[in-house]
C-alpha cells in the first residue's frame, strides 16, 4: 500500500508542478492512511521533497535517462509502482506529464483520470473531480481498478509545505531507450513559460500591430509574467504560434491572466478560463470577455497600459 507521485525534475531541479503533485499526494496518502512515495529521475536535490510530505524518496540516477524519453520514463514509473505496491499513481500536467501518464496507465492496466482538480471526494469508491468540456463543466469520475492513475491539473491544488523525515533509496530501472529519440531541443532559456507562469499577459488584435508589442512585454516584465496572444494575432503572424493561447493553442491555468485588446471569443475563453483571476482591458464595453472576467477596464490600451506599467513599478518597489 502506498501513494506514488512522479516528481519530475527539469535540468535536475523540481518545477512548481512537481512540488504540487507531492503536496497533493500527501493529502491522498493521509486519506488512505498510507505512505507517500516520491519518484525522482536525475534530480539533484531529491531530499527537498521531504519538505512537502514525501516519506520515501526513490532516486533513479541513470545516464540513459538524461534526456526525456516518454516510454522509458513511463516504464520506470510502472516498475516503481509495482515495487511499492502503489494504489494510486499521481502525475502532473506538464507537457512531459501529459505524455507519460496514459502510457503508465496502459502499462498498469489502470483506470486513469486526467485534469483532476481536487482530492478524492471518496476513496471507497475512489471518486475524483475533473475538468471537462474545456472547463465549462466538471465530471465526477469513479476509478474502479485496483491501481489508479491521476493526472493533476496545473495550479489546482497548490504547494503545501509539510515537513517530514524521509528515507531515500536508489533504484535502477530496467527501462531501455524507446524507438523515439531526441535530435534537437529548441527552448529559450531564462524565459518564463506560459506553462509555468503565475501571471500571463496576453494581447489581441486591439493592439493594432506587432510593433506595439513592447507594451505587452514591458507589462509582463514588471509582473514577471509570460507573454501570450490571441489566435488572430498568431494567424496574422504578429506573434509566434507558440504564444497562441486558447482552444487549439496552449491552455493557461495561471493565477492572474491579463487580456489586453482581446474580445474574448468562446474558443479563446475555453483555453484560458482555468486561470484564477482574469483582468480585461478593452475599448469595447460590449466585448464578451467582460462577462468572463473578474476585473475590467473599458479604455484604450495605449493609454491604460503605460500607466499600469508605471504604477506597478512603484507598487513592486514598495512591496
Amino acid at each position: 500500500m502506498s501513494v506514488l507521485v512522479f516528481a519530475e525534475a527539469s535540468e535536475g531541479k523540481f518545477k512548481k508542478a512537481a512540488l504540487e503533485v507531492v503536496s497533493y499526494g500527501k493529502k491522498i496518502a493521509e486519506q488512505l492512511g498510507t505512505e507517500l512515495v516520491a519518484l525522482t529521475i536525475n534530480a539533484s536535490n531529491a531530499s527537498e521533497l521531504a519538505s512537502y510530505g514525501a516519506q520515501k524518496i526513490i532516486k533513479v540516477t541513470q545516464d540513459n535517462q538524461e534526456s526525456f524519453d516518454a516510454k522509458c520514463t513511463a516504464t520506470t514509473i510502472k516498475e516503481v509502482a509495482l515495487k511499492e505496491a502503489a494504489d494510486v499513481v499521481i502525475i502532473d500536467s506538464s507537457s512531459n506529464g501529459l505524455y507519460v501518464a496514459p502510457i503508465v496507465a496502459a502499462q498498469l492496466n489502470a483506470g486513469y483520470a486526467s485534469n483532476v482538480i481536487d482530492v478524492p471526494s471518496s476513496t471507497q469508491p475512489f471518486t475524483v473531480k475533473r475538468k471537462a468540456f474545456s472547463n465549462k463543466a466538471f465530471n465526477h469520475t469513479e476509478i474502479s481498478t485496483a491501481v489508479k492513475v491521476i493526472g493533476l491539473a496545473k495550479n489546482s491544488f497548490g504547494i503545501v509545505e509539510n515537513s517530514t523525515t524521509a528515507t531515500e533509496e536508489d533504484f535502477t530501472s530496467t527501462a531501455t531507450a524507446s524507438g523515439v529519440s531526441s535530435t534537437a531541443l529548441n527552448k529559450a532559456s531564462g524565459q518564463v513559460t506560459i506553462a509555468d507562469a503565475d501571471v500571463v499577459v496576453s494581447g489581441g488584435r486591439g493592439l493594432k500591430g506587432p510593433e506595439n508589442w513592447g507594451l505587452i512585454e514591458d507589462l509582463a516584465e514588471v509582473l514577471g509574467a509570460a507573454t501570450a496572444c490571441s489566435k488572430p494575432v498568431s494567424d496574422l503572424g504578429w506573434r509566434p504560434h507558440a504564444e497562441h493561447v486558447g482552444q487549439t493553442g496552449k491552455p493557461v491555468a495561471s493565477n492572474l491572466y491579463i487580456a489586453i485588446g482581446i474580445s474574448g471569443a468562446i474558443q479563446h475563453l475555453a483555453g484560458i478560463n482555468a486561470s484564477k483571476v482574469k483582468v480585461v482591458i478593452n475599448t469595447d464595453p460590449e466585448a464578451p470577455f467582460f462577462k468572463a472576467a473578474d476585473y475590467g477596464i473599458v479604455g484604450d490600451a495605449f493609454e491604460v497600459v503605460p500607466q499600469l506599467i508605471e504604477k506597478l513599478k512603484v507598487f513592486k518597489a514598495n512591496n
Binding site: 507537457s95 501529459l98 465526477h140 523515439v180 531526441s182 535530435t183 494567424d235 492572474l256 475555453a270 473578474d294
Partner: protein, 248 residues
C-alpha cells in the same frame, strides 16, 4: 503508406453545456456536433501525405450511429474509407482498447489522432493506443515528415519544441502546427457526393472491462459580475489585485 485517422465526434465549441438525468448525462438537445478540432489537423496532415507521397486514409471512431455524419464529413474531405466501432465511448481506456483491436488486424503504418478531444479533454487515447499496440508514439506533435520507414516529428514542450527521430509504425497525437489553420480542409460538393459511395463499415466492439465510470456532472458556480474599474483609476485596480484577489 496506410494511415488511420482517429476521429472524435464532439459538441461544437459554441454549444451550451447542459446535463440531464440528474446531471448524469450530457444533454445533446439542440447541440451541433463536429469533428473534434484537434482531429481536423490530423486529418489534414493525412491528406497532405496522401496527395504528396501517396497514402490510403481510413478514418475511425467509436460511437453509435449518431456519429456517422462526422465520418461522412471526413470521407468528403478525402479519406478513402471509414470504420465505426459500434459502442458508447465510455472512457479513454475503452476507446483505446477498441481502436487497438481494429488497428492490430488491419495493420497501419501511421495512426494520427488529435492531442485531446474538446469534450472530455482527457488526452488519454493516443498514448494508451500506442502502448496497447507497442508502436512508437509522439505526443503534442506540431510537425512530421516521413521518408521510407523513418519519421522526423516535432513536439511541443513547455517553453519550446523538440525534434524527434522515430520509425513506423507510429502513433501521433497532433495539434495545430501539424498543418496551419488555413490548410484545414472543408469538403466541397464533389467530395460530399463521392463520400456517399465510399465504404463505411460498422464493426462490433470487443469485450473490455471498464476502468472508470462517469458518476455525475457539475457546472461551475455562476461567476460573480466583472468588477469594473475606471480607466483613470489604475491605483484602484492594483489595490484590488493586491488586497482582494491577492494575485500580485
Amino acid at each position: 503508406m496506410k494511415i488511420l485517422v482517429c476521429i472524435s465526434h464532439v459538441p461544437d465549441t459554441t454549444s451550451k453545456i447542459n446535463f440531464t438525468e440528474n446531471d448524469s448525462a450530457f444533454d445533446s438537445n439542440g447541440v451541433q456536433y463536429v469533428i473534434n478540432p484537434y482531429d481536423e489537423f490530423a486529418l489534414a496532415r493525412a491528406m497532405w501525405f496522401k496527395e504528396k507521397q501517396g497514402a490510403s486514409i481510413t478514418v475511425i471512431t467509436v460511437g453509435n450511429a449518431g456519429t456517422e455524419p462526422s465520418l461522412r464529413k471526413a470521407l468528403a474531405i478525402g479519406a478513402d474509407d471509414a470504420i465505426r466501432i459500434d459502442a458508447e465511448a465510455t472512457d479513454g481506456f475503452f476507446v483505446a482498447k477498441q481502436l487497438a483491436e481494429v488497428a492490430k488486424s488491419n495493420g497501419y503504418d501511421l495512426i494520427l489522432t488529435g492531442r485531446e478531444s474538446i469534450d472530455y479533454n482527457g488526452a488519454m487515447v493516443p498514448g494508451m493506443l500506442a502502448t496497447f499496440l507497442d508502436y512508437n508514439f509522439v505526443n503534442a506533435c506540431i510537425g512530421v515528415e516521413i521518408e521510407n520507414n523513418t519519421a522526423t516529428a516535432i513536439k511541443e514542450i513547455d517553453g519550446g519544441s523538440e525534434t524527434l527521430s522515430t520509425s513506423l509504425p507510429l502513433v501521433l497525437a497532433g495539434q495545430k502546427g501539424l498543418v496551419e489553420e488555413k490548410e484545414l480542409r472543408i469538403p466541397n460538393m464533389r467530395g460530399i457526393m463521392m463520400a456517399r459511395k465510399k465504404p463505411l463499415s460498422v464493426v462490433a466492439a470487443i469485450e473490455t472491462e471498464a476502468t472508470t465510470k462517469s458518476v455525475r456532472f457539475e457546472k461551475p458556480e455562476e461567476k460573480s459580475a466583472c468588477k469594473m474599474v475606471a480607466a483613470s483609476d489604475i491605483d484602484g485596480l492594483i489595490d484590488l489585485l493586491h488586497n482582494e484577489a491577492k494575485v500580485i
